[in-house]
């Protein structure tokens, strides 16, 4: 899957390129730099990997090798509304896999993927720290506890409705 970068993202990459010089040229900075870039771009495009490799005087494959080792790093852009389904132990025993499946079915993508319109993405996470509310799903930063398969559709619909409302308001302003 090739990722097409938006104009804003390209601009951000150029900014990162110039600010990267502020980091020490020290191998110990590798992971902090990757985290810093992902914080700004939400994922690590090939351009970023190459940039970091050049800065730290490493080969791009070395940098990619480190980045792919860690679960935190993404190589594809997440959706505008990232959905994180908790599959920690407590959530698992309360049927979290069924919740995950339902999201996958409703959005027609698999875990780890983003919808073609880049609106939603699904990720699995391990324990978000509120096991008492299991099973848990995060929509963006919002925690939804006591999830049920039948709530899945409602959550997605709600996001869609919010979007429509916003667009309508925008139009009304114009």
């Amino acid at each position: 899957m090739e990722v097409e970068l938006s104009a804003a993202e390209l601009e951000q990459i150029e900014k990162i390129r110039s600010e990267l010089k502020g980091f020490k040229k020290d191998r110990g900075q590798l992971i902090p730099i990757l985290q810093w870039i992902q914080n700004r771009l939400a994922f690590l495009p090939p351009e970023a990997i190459e940039m970091v490799a050049e800065h730290l005087d490493l080969s791009p494959s070395e940098v990619l090798g480190v980045a792919t080792f860690y679960n935190q790093f993404r190589f594809f852009p997440p959706g505008e509304h990232p959905i994180k389904v908790c599959l920690g132990t407590a959530c698992h025993v309360k049927g979290a896999d069924i919740i995950l499946e339902n999201f996958e079915r409703k959005l027609a993508i698999r875990e780890g993927e983003t919808t073609p319109d880049r609106r939603f993405s699904i990720e699995r996470v391990a324990c978000v720290g509120c096991c008492a509310l299991a099973p848990v799903t995060l929509m963006g930063e919002t925690v939804h506890g006591h999830m049920a398969p039948s709530k899945v559709e409602g959550l997605i619909t709600r996001v869609n409705i919010e979007k429509e409302v916003k667009e309508r308001e925008k139009k009304a302003h114009v």
Partner: protein, 639 residues
């Protein structure tokens, strides 16, 4: 210098306490926020502002009572009532309490969990086992102080142990920790004093201290709660350790998935620097020590100390052969002490109250307390800190209220992916490091999942193996490929394709993985399988021979059907809630489930009104009677 800080803290506390305005303490750790504490706080703020009620909002950490979040304590002295703890304070309840209690002095008895102190009017929370059976050392101040205010911690005696330690020779500090018998809380239980002494005795120009807050177990969150609720206690423990071993650099290795903990820690370090508790010439002495934060990037194996060090150095986090141990050759080859968050958090109390006091708590070989995060099928899930040596029965049934819905206890999984599943036979075993290891489980992270009779041990083993298999760093063949084959076998069992699987072979493979792996990940990965094979052989038997899942969990081995005797037929909830349109109605208004479409989510069973209970779950699936789906969906009335 410390006296000045203490005086300032006391002054601030006095001003806070003497302010006649009522105080509203809101628990704002991750669990509280997840349950809606931010909204609760906003509701309080709004109604206080609207009605001009003078009350102070005090944000605190987590008390560990996750079942009751958002938790609010209201201290309203003028009302004549003691401080009261309210559970599940929704924004609506917050508004109501502000109006009726803060304004009119009516505490709304029906919403109270208990009073925070003994009194004549309201039963105290200390009358409940969930409160009075605990012994808090590590979590003593959690949920009582504001984690974002260093003076709150100092006013509660914080940094006193460190100030005291500054005046003592390092050898004495190590001696006290050794004497106390403190064992590392990161899982393996290595004696902390011994580790510190080894680091002290290694020569080196720079010594490093690392606090391991990588908490990788997918079902445990006590380290996070501690960091979010009382970060300074951990910093103080690190400071004492630095003093004892002669270190100048500290690193807090925190999981990046813990953004709130990272934010709170950054602030705590900043505040400590301002108070001259970190940095150069601490409290005017010649001792210098500073702490930086390194955000881990989500690899379970990086909880292992040598892998953790590799990841700080900027490499793939793969463990290496020990010895040399990190205390002699750690980060960049320098002597490095790595301890768990809770290990450090135990230290201030030990220095302050003495080794003898600490040894008096817990068991002889495992002194002190253990913190468990108890989740799953219990009535009062959350964090519990109890003395080592308490039995599982006390913990699960007395303290956490037992199993909900009148179900029977089946198993408890302790220690996450490295731990094991224990059966009813272990309920009366006192728990400490050694008894758990003997049982084939492990203290590990302290994550505990309680399971009732409707749980499948094969599935739980598969779950953990799936986790360790994915997290194996790939260095050792047995860990990389062995866990894969073990996982495939377990998957076949849970899918009903396990007729050729031999339990003996599973056991042999497990033992090979243990023997052939370098680090703790591979050495312990088969534990969930081995313990469940040992304690729940009948579960495996049923999956292999009958293709039946006794816990009715493995979806390929179950089926749902609708019992037409019980179905009232008039309602359509099952049909309405089915996410895949598998439920249908025949022309004579009978209901059926199309087994070819059913994904076995159980929604219809949840939705079916309790007075009908018409949806039945069976295993193996062929027990479900077949109802033919009409070729054409029945036409609805056009009217």
């Amino acid at each position: 210098m410390y006296e000045d800080l203490k005086a300032e803290a006391a002054r601030r506390k006095k001003a806070f306490d003497e302010d006649p305005a009522p105080k509203v303490h809101i628990g704002m750790a991750t669990c509280g926020i997840a349950a809606g504490a931010l909204e609760t706080k906003a509701a309080f703020e709004q109604v206080l502002a609207e009605r001009g009620i003078s009350a102070r909002i005090h944000t605190v950490g987590c008390r560990g009572h996750c079942y009751a979040e958002p938790v609010v304590i209201i201290d309203h002295p003028d009302s004549g009532f003691p401080p009261i703890l309210y559970p599940e304070v929704t924004p609506g309840k917050a508004t109501m309490l502000a109006k009726l209690f803060l304004e009119q002095g009516d505490p709304r008895m029906e919403h109270i969990l208990g009073a925070m102190v003994e009194n004549e009017m309201i039963p105290s929370v200390m009358e409940f086992p969930r409160f009075n059976r605990e012994t808090r050392i590590v979590m003593e101040k959690c949920g009582l102080i504001d984690p974002e205010d260093i003076y709150d911690y100092i006013a509660a005696g914080g940094y006193g142990a460190f100030a005291n330690a500054l005046e003592n020779p390092p050898e004495l500090l190590i001696h006290i920790v050794k004497e106390s018998g403190l064992r590392g809380r990161g899982g393996a239980g290595f004696p902390t004093g011994k580790k510190w002494a080894a680091a002290r005795n290694t020569s080196g120009d720079e010594k490093i201290i690392i606090c391991n807050a990588d908490e990788g177990d997918p079902g445990a969150y006590m380290d996070r709660t501690l960091l979010e609720s009382n970060p300074h206690q951990v910093l103080e423990g690190m400071l004492i350790c630095a003093l004892a071993v002669g270190a100048s650099r500290g690193i807090l290795y925190v999981r990046a998935e813990y953004p709130l903990a990272v934010r709170i820690l950054r602030r705590a370090i900043e505040e400590a620097r301002k108070a001259r508790l970190l940095g150069k010439e601490i409290l005017g002495t010649s001792f210098s020590f500073d702490i930086e934060i390194f955000e881990g990037s989500g690899a379970f194996v990086c909880g292992e100390e040598t892998a953790l060090i590799r990841s700080i150095e900027g490499y793939r986090g793969m463990p290496r052969q020990r010895p040399p141990y990190p205390v002699t050759s750690g980060l960049y080859g320098k002597p490095t002490v790595i301890n768990n968050v809770k290990t450090f958090a135990n230290v201030p109390a030990i220095i302050e109250r003495g080794a003898g006091w600490f040894k008096g708590i817990g068991t002889e070989k495992s002194p002190g307390t253990a913190i468990f995060s108890i989740v799953g099928d219990v009535i009062h899930p959350g964090l519990v800190e109890i003395p080592m040596g308490v039995t599982l029965r006390t913990l699960i049934f007395d303290i956490c209220g037992g199993i909900p819905n009148k179900k029977k206890f089946k198993a408890v999984q302790i220690g996450g992916p490295s731990g094991g599943c224990l059966s009813e036979a272990f309920l009366d075993t006192p728990i400490d490091f050694d008894t758990l290891s003997q049982a084939g489980a492990m203290m590990g992270s302290g994550g505990m999942v309680v399971m009732d009779e409707d749980s499948c041990m094969v599935d739980v083993s598969r779950y953990f193996l799936d986790f360790t298999q994915k997290e194996s760093c790939g260095k050792c063949t047995f860990c990389r490929i062995g866990t894969y084959h073990l996982l495939v076998a377990l998957e076949q069992l849970t899918e009903g394709k396990g007729e050729t699987i031999d339990v003996g072979a599973l056991k042999a493979l497990s033992e090979d993985i243990q023997a052939g792996s370098l680090c703790g990940l591979g050495k312990t990965a088969p534990n969930p399988v081995l313990t469940s094979l040992k304690h729940f052989p009948e579960d495996y038997e049923a999956h292999i021979v009958e293709k039946r899942c006794p816990g009715m969990t493995c979806r390929p081995l179950i089926a749902y059907y609708i019992d037409l005797e019980k179905c009232a037929r008039g309602c359509d909830v099952c049909e309405g809630c089915c996410p895949v349109d598998a439920v249908f109605t025949t022309p004579n208004r009978k209901k059926g489930i199309d087994q070819s479409l059913c994904v076995k989510c159980g929604e219809c069973m949840t939705a079916c009104p309790p007075e009908y209970k018409a949806v039945i779950k069976v295993s193996p699936p062929h027990l479900a009677p077949v109802i033919e789906r009409p070729a054409q969906p029945p036409k609805r009335d056009a009217s």
